[in-house]
Amino acid sequence: MVIAIGLEGSANKLGIGIIKDGQVLSNPRVTYITPPGEGFLPSETARHHQAEIINLLEKSIKEAKVRPEEIDVICYTKGPGMGAPLVSVAVVARTIAQLWKKPIVGVNHCIGHIEMGRHITGAKDPTVLYVSGDRFARILKLSNDPSPGYNIEQLAKRGKKLLALPYVVKGMDVSFSGLLSFIEEKAETLKREYTPEDLCFSLQEAVFAMLVETTDPVVLNIFLERAMAHTGSQEVLIVGGVGCNERLQEMMNRMCEERQAKLFATDERFCIDNGAMIAQAGSEMYSAGMVTSPWEETFCTQRYRTDEVEVVWRND
């Protein structure tokens, strides 16, 4: 029976969650919300996390109704993400690991999403789609509250005019940056012809056309087909902020039904960055003997590929 605490702060969301034997005992979160159209800078985000983390840690422990001594392992986000915010959280994680004399585990943020998604939905061996969408919301000056993806979706529902947007696929990787650069460059011109609602609608359709089969030439659907064939998986799991998007889920569901595959997705509690997902992944790692050691290894890294992590805790 493992009780794990997870500390997450790789972007503008700060979350601390406690999990006992797979059950979420607490998962409070605070978000650094910037004015619409402004992105969040690393130093400001770090200051926000520093200002909030002590109270959030206390809240997490009180809500979980556990004593610090009962916690078996301290889990924190090693990366990927923004450097200054990551370090601000890691410093606290290292301190409580020493104060409570417990092992520490550095967790890959994306693995946190994936493991929580698998855990919550019960998907056994899914092909995983990880989708995050802050940059587009910034171009259109959409509010970051509750999340950019949610606000894109709300506007898209009212969009009518479709603008064809370019995208690129290289092998198994899909690049959205060309699409976003296109919008960034032409934003002012586009805004005269298309309303924000139209642009959200167009982006959503373009991105999701890349992800799922539609009447347009499929690019990402090919990617997913290949990925599923490669893993032999009949399950698809969507994680990440945009994963909450109902339209995406609806389109993915259609694709899955066509292939007799099963679609799994979580709700916004776990799609959006949170501490419990770090605790969940960290708990799995801890149980498999993967603590972060020696102490010098408890650093943070802005770039941390998902495939750099050796998944020894799953043998399916």
């Binding site: 770090a46 200051r47 520093q50 983390i53 002590i54 840690l57 206390e58 004593r67 610090p68 001594e69 450097g83 200054a84 370090v87 601000s88 890691a90 410093v91 606290v92 290292r94 301190t95 409580i96 020493q98 104060l99 409570w100 102490w295 010098e296 408890t298 650093f299 943070c300």
Partner: protein, 111 residues
């Protein structure tokens, strides 16, 4: 502002803690992270008695200011965490009595 072109600027800060144990905890929490790539500052951290000593060496005063600001932000975070979440203090309203050598703690680190 002029600075000597070939001599680095230096800053040495001495932070006393209530105990050597706490100084060591702070040292461990703060020594892991390297200075950011763009920073030209070299940071050295070590513990002497009950004090955490940090030495910063950089090309000019500005670089030291940036580096030390970040350091103090993190140091404050560590101190708050120790104050709030030490096992004997957590949830209690009484400050604990230190059980280390009292004489050693009162001796200043500077001489």
């Amino acid at each position: 502002m002029t600075s000597h072109p070939h001599e680095p600027a230096q800053l040495r800060v001495v932070i006393p803690f209530p105990s050597k144990e706490q100084a060591l905890i702070a040292h461990n929490s703060l020594r892991v992270d390297r200075e950011p790539k763009r920073s030209q500052v070299q940071k050295t951290l070590f513990v002497e008695k009950h004090c955490l000593i940090v030495e910063l060496v950089g090309p000019d005063a500005r670089s030291l200011r940036l580096s030390s600001n970040t350091f103090f932000d993190h140091l404050t975070l560590v101190q708050k965490t120790i104050d709030k979440f030490s096992l004997d203090k957590f949830g209690s309203s009484e400050p604990r009595t230190e059980d280390f050598d009292g004489i050693e703690a009162k001796k200043p680190c500077l001489n």
